[in-house]
């Protein structure tokens, strides 16, 4: 009767086989990454000094941050040389965040189309109240415009 390798033998073989397989980054690699990160920090400050328009400036700032974050994640956090599973976890995390931000922004940016009174009405009431009193005093806002629609609109269907 042939004897199968004992659990101890197979375990030892397995251990030997998988030892010392981690990627070790070179110092040059780490130093170059740091210099790149510092360069992009200067770049993001410089980019904010140039007026490219509200949304372009925002996207440039986010874009540079994504590049910097990628450097940190790929080199310092070893994702570049890791098992794919860690990157997959990160990818699905970002996917979740993208859905979260996308649907919240779509919702809040389009409420005004349905009901003008609700446009922008997400601030704490006291803050909104202060802001509105201020705006009325400065003649920027006339609440009488909204009296036809707005909150009263909801009860109208039952009356008619």
């Amino acid at each position: 009767m042939t004897t199968a390798p004992t659990i101890f033998e197979s375990e030892a073989a397995h251990e030997l086989e998988r030892e010392h397989k981690h990627y070790i980054p070179s110092m040059l690699e780490l130093n170059v990454t740091l210099v790149a990160l510092l360069f992009f920090t200067v770049l993001t400050v410089a980019a904010s000094r140039v007026d490219l328009g509200e949304s372009v400036n925002l996207w440039v700032a986010i874009g540079i941050s994504v590049v910097k974050g990628s450097f940190v994640a790929l080199v310092f956090m070893h994702l570049k040389n890791d098992k794919a599973m860690n990157s997959i976890v990160l990818f699905f995390c970002f996917l979740t965040i993208a859905f979260f931000l996308m649907f919240t922004i779509i919702d809040l940016s389009s409420r005004g189309r349905v009901d003008p009174m609700r446009a922008g009405a997400i601030a704490p009431p006291a803050v909104v109240q202060q802001a509105r009193e201020r705006a009325i005093a400065e003649g920027r806002l006339d609440l009488s415009e909204h009296k036809e629609g707005g909150a009263e609109h909801e009860s109208e269907p039952t009356e008619h």
């Binding site: 397995h14 251990e15 740091l34 400050v45 509200e54 965040i97």
Partner: protein, 231 residues
């Protein structure tokens, strides 16, 4: 080379050389990879936590862009933010070098870099609390309904400034708390490094605490331009 024997030779060995994985793992490598995957899942939940603050930021900036521009320029000094960015980037480099030192078995280099990174973390917190938080509390530049800053030097606060400051305080304070936790974790790692717990064959904790520190760095990389550099 062989790890089967664990006899009298172990007397002269460093603790990391004697390290044996928990019994439910096949080998040290599987334990390392599993711990690291667990760390990445934890980091994913951290990103989800901070994504709520980023969401608040984007929504409020979408509604009140002019207020955000004035508030960012008036309440925050971009130079402090830039210095803190550099401080955290360098500390991240230190931690990356520390992990490498563990991989190649340089105990002193590992401990030095870990303690230096924690020192930079303390510098970050001192700059943040000393030059930002304390003056802001004295001047009433506080979040939401606590805001009482009446304006100065020709700056007239907009009614929506408290909302910018809400995002600023909540996101940076949560981030600052993470830095504080990171500093304590780095001390723990540095202390264990000096005791010889980490080496080429076993450095799981250095790797995972390093991942945490890098994530805190990445979050600041995003917070800095969004809060301090609104053009």
């Amino acid at each position: 080379m062989t790890t089967i024997t664990n006899t009298s030779a172990s007397v002269s060995q460093e603790p990391w050389e004697r390290y044996k994985h928990q019994p439910h793992w096949r080998n040290n490598e599987d334990e390392f990879e599993a711990a690291k995957l667990g760390m990445w899942i934890f980091l994913a939940t951290e990103l989800l936590l901070f994504s709520g603050f980023f969401c608040a930021y984007f929504i409020l900036r979408m509604f009140y862009p002019e207020s955000f521009r004035g508030a960012s320029e008036h309440y925050l000094d971009w130079r402090i933010g830039a210095i803190n960015t550099i401080v955290l980037l360098v500390s991240s480099w230190n931690v990356a070098v520390a992990v490498r030192a563990a991989q190649v078995g340089k105990k002193k280099l590992l401990a030095f870099n870990v303690f230096f990174a924690s020192l930079l973390g303390i510098v970050f917190l001192v700059l943040k609390i000393g030059l930002e938080y304390i003056p802001k509390i004295h001047k009433g530049e506080l979040p939401g309904g606590n805001f009482w800053f009446a304006g100065a030097h020709g700056y007239d606060p907009s009614a929506y400034d408290p909302m910018f400051l809400s995002v600023y305080w909540v996101s940076t304070a949560t981030h600052g708390f993470h830095v504080l936790v990171g500093v304590l974790l780095l001390w723990w790692i540095g202390w264990r490094a000096l005791k010889g717990h980490f080496g080429p064959k076993h450095y799981t904790a250095v790797e995972n605490i390093g991942l945490y520190w890098h994530l805190v760095d990445i979050i600041w990389i995003f917070l800095f331009p969004l809060l301090y550099l609104v053009p």
